[in-house]
Amino acid sequence: MSGAPVYRGSFGPTQAERLLWRAGFGPRPGESSRLAKQGLRSAVRSLVEPPALQLSGPEAQDDRGHPLAPRDAFGHDHLWWLDRMVRTNQPLVERMTLVWHDWFATSLQGVKSQALMLDQNKLFRENALGSFRDLLLGVTKDPAMLVWLSGNKNTVRAPNENYGRELMELFTLGADRGYSEQDVREQARALTGWRGNVKKKVATDFAFVPRLHDRGQKTIFGKSGAFDWQDSCRLCLEHPSHSSFFVRKLWSYFVPTMPSTSTQAALEQLYRAKRGAVKPVVEAILLHPDLHTGPRMVKQPVVYTAGLLRARGRGIDTAAWWKLDDASGQRLFYPPDVAGWDESRWLDTATFRGRWFVAMTALGGAQEGSAPRDPARLVARAISFWGSPEITGTTRSVLTAWARKQLGSSSPALVESALRQLVATAPELQAA
């Protein structure tokens, strides 16, 4: 048990819907009601302790009906992962994989091998709700990361500070939180010894080579020793700034407001007591009142896309998705830089337009039968088209008035298809 407070209000389909968006990729039709019946604790439990993996729904294919080639075909890496998000019955595992991708943001831009990126993705998934220490050690020697932050170029004769700096600044401690430029240089020395390269998109010779490692004494955070890469990680995790950094960063993926001082302290204590286990902290955040009663969060582009497809029971059947998500500001395996995506700025005029096309593509191909000439019924039908998400009265009345006006000059079927677009891009569907 954590000392952090637990949400005690009612837990109906509305609350379950938000939980499914924050901890996954939104509900499938009927899923919010089913989850609500379990009650909050049991619902959260089912997310952090999911059943055995089962991918359900139509299998992914490209525009010609061929299976995806995620390790080779350009953009198929994105499609492959998006397909997992759409079809998984372990949404939190997939969502945490996305969290780690942002946390340890590595880009194909620099790695130049989809195979290595997918290997890293597997590492994130296997450690999705495990031990942060194991994850950090895995990432530090992960070939994609070694290439991305020059770890493979960091040798005793030619130290390279790239990874050592980001290890502290972005991965474990936070900028200016208890380390010096001298620590950066000493970390670089401790981390020396890894080798490996990508040649023609294939990984070659990734290994730790003792003769490339600096075996001398280093002083990091005031401690001295003949430190190596594992010590480097350990020293960061033992640093007094680490648990507060970890909690704040993890929290920010689920709740848009800052935790109170007491919640922050309780979660830090939980993280330390559980010796760096991620799952209990995530569980405590998912149970926290701030998640259930605070403001909405703008959905990440891939979460928005995967959610629309889940609501429709539609699989990946076109390669357009990677381009559409890119236009919305999030191409998987291509974070903008090593700091990941800026979660506070998903929406502007450019990315709004990207989302507009995501919605348009998600509803494309749907049957357009006969439609009633009644504006309120058209609006209700357009909402149920997307699995009956919660829509405010404000939105319903704007849409109804608009539909009434359009029916003067356009057919009910055309107005209905436009309403589907407008429901999918309404504020309620873009933020949860």
Binding site: S150, K153, R165, M297, D326, T349, R353, A418
Partner: protein, 457 residues
């Protein structure tokens, strides 16, 4: 040649304007005088070609949104100076862009990466320095007096994190907690509540330097890419749908929920931007831009076209092409990015000159820091401190601002990084005062502490 090109562009604009006139206006307000392509002032047909004629002609009763009036008023009013901020991402190696061939330390600190004294043009203002061959286009503009070089720009107590240092530059303060951009704060004070084009981010995402707290700004990939119908076939209800999305946004504008508000604001601004850019077809540039898989040259071409069409842009921000975080194999990466960037900047200047609007535009090029003077052994360089910047345009003074401190003991700090001879906040303050004509004290924290060099001719 140039005037011919300008006439071509004007002819095209006029043709587009007439086509647009026949399309949009009469059906909205039948009683309105329909311009037939004659008798129009230059200003009005230009506004029309950009799709903003509704408000220029029809006034507010045509549209429920005040923003259209704001854009039209801005377009019809006195043309504001334009500041274009261009970011070289990753911390470009200033010691390669203008390399100190005449500094004896250079070949010691850079045994593998140093460029030979035989390449590149000499830099006329400091005999120790030479231009990287890939920056020849900048050397050319410099020779014409259109480039001011900042050979060692930075700030005291430099931060070596990409993100922290970039953030300082974006917000115009060495304060990690400031959320608005320096240009955003300028727009909040001097901009208008109803012209999102006053702050334009030419990017897939918003450039943080433009982030405002109050007034609207816009972000787009390129002016020829802002339709809302898929497959080039316009959706029959495209405009009404976009209007409805904006209405939904407006309906949630007063919501207590910040998430609903954010989506609502984006929807409204998207609808307005679409209105402004409607009718803005393929870009016809009077000069050739470099071909590149990167959007940068096309974005500059689109920017020049929008300025030429009279759209009310004021502060613009975008990222240059290239990867400048050259921890390894620096030579190739730097060469490629620098070449396309410099060539694009030259093309942009020539484009503005051909359109007769070069006097209105000033380009500011910056990077979050320079790189370590000593190379790192991976054929690259690690994060440094002071770096290089440029001011480009017909109106810039064309003289070096601050000096190159050298890479001997006096020029480097205790960590072996270049010392700054100019503070970036002094340049921001100078741009705000001398180019934008506003009070820098209200925008740049502690502005009075920084020297303001003379920036303009």
């Amino acid at each position: 040649m140039m005037s011919d090109c300008r006439d071509c562009t004007r002819t095209k604009l006029l043709r587009d304007a007439v086509a647009e006139a026949g399309r949009g206006l009469p059906e909205i307000e039948p009683g309105m005088p329909v311009p037939a392509g004659t008798g129009l002032s230059r200003r009005s047909f230009i506004a029309r070609s950009a799709g903003i004629a509704l408000a220029v002609y029809g006034g507010s009763k045509l549209t429920p949104w005040a923003l259209d009036d704001g854009i039209a008023a801005a377009a019809a009013g006195k043309q504001a100076p334009v500041l274009v901020s261009i970011f070289l991402e990753g911390g470009i190696d200033s010691l390669s862009v203008l390399f100190p061939a005449g500094d004896p330390e250079y070949y010691t600190l850079r045994p593998k990466l140093a460029l030979p004294e035989s390449v590149g043009a000499a830099f006329s203002e400091d005999s120790r320095l030479r231009w990287h061959p890939a920056a020849a286009a900048l050397a050319q503009l410099h020779a014409e007096g259109k480039v001011s070089v900042l050979p060692a720009i930075g700030y005291n107590r430099p931060d070596h994190s990409h993100f922290t240092s970039r953030h300082y530059w974006e917000v115009g303060a060495t304060d990690p907690h400031v959320r608005s951009g320096w240009l955003g704060r300028y727009l909040d004070r001097s901009g208008s509540a109803d012209n999102p084009l006053q702050g334009l981010s030419l990017d897939k995402r918003l450039q943080p330097a433009l982030a405002t707290a109050k007034v609207p700004i816009a972000s787009l990939d390129g002016p020829d890419r802002y339709g809302f119908s898929a497959n080039r076939k316009p959706h029959p209800l495209e405009r009404p749908m976009l209007d409805a999305a904006a209405q939904l946004g407006a309906a949630h504008a007063a919501s207590r929920d910040q998430g609903l508000r954010q989506v609502g604001e984006a929807a409204q601004q998207a609808r307005h931007l679409a209105g402004e850019l409607r009718g803005f077809g393929a870009i016809a540039s009077p000069v050739a831009y470099p071909s590149s898989v990167d959007q940068f040259p096309r974005r500059l071409a689109g920017l020049a076209a929008m300025l030429g069409a009279g759209l009310p842009l004021h502060c613009v921000a975008l990222t240059a092409t290239g990867h400048y975080d050259t921890h390894a194999t620096q030579a190739e990466d730097l060469q490629q990015g620098l070449q396309t960037t410099a060539d694009s900047l030259l093309a942009f200047q020539r484009d503005l000159e051909a359109r007769g609007i070069a006097d209105r535009v000033l380009v500011h090029v910056w990077s979050e820091f320079g790189r370590r003077a000593r190379e790192n052994g991976s054929l690259g360089t690690d994060h440094g401190a002071a770096g290089i910047g440029f001011l480009i345009g017909s109106r810039v003074r064309g003289r070096m601002i601050g000096e190159f401190p050298g890479i001997g003991p006096g020029g480097l700090d205790a960590l072996g990084n270049l010392r700054a001879t100019v503070d970036f906040r002094g340049i921001y303050a100078g741009l705000i005062e001398q180019w934008l004509g506003a009070d820098a004290g209200a925008i740049i924290p502690g502005a009075s502490a920084f020297a303001r060099p003379t920036l303009l001719k």
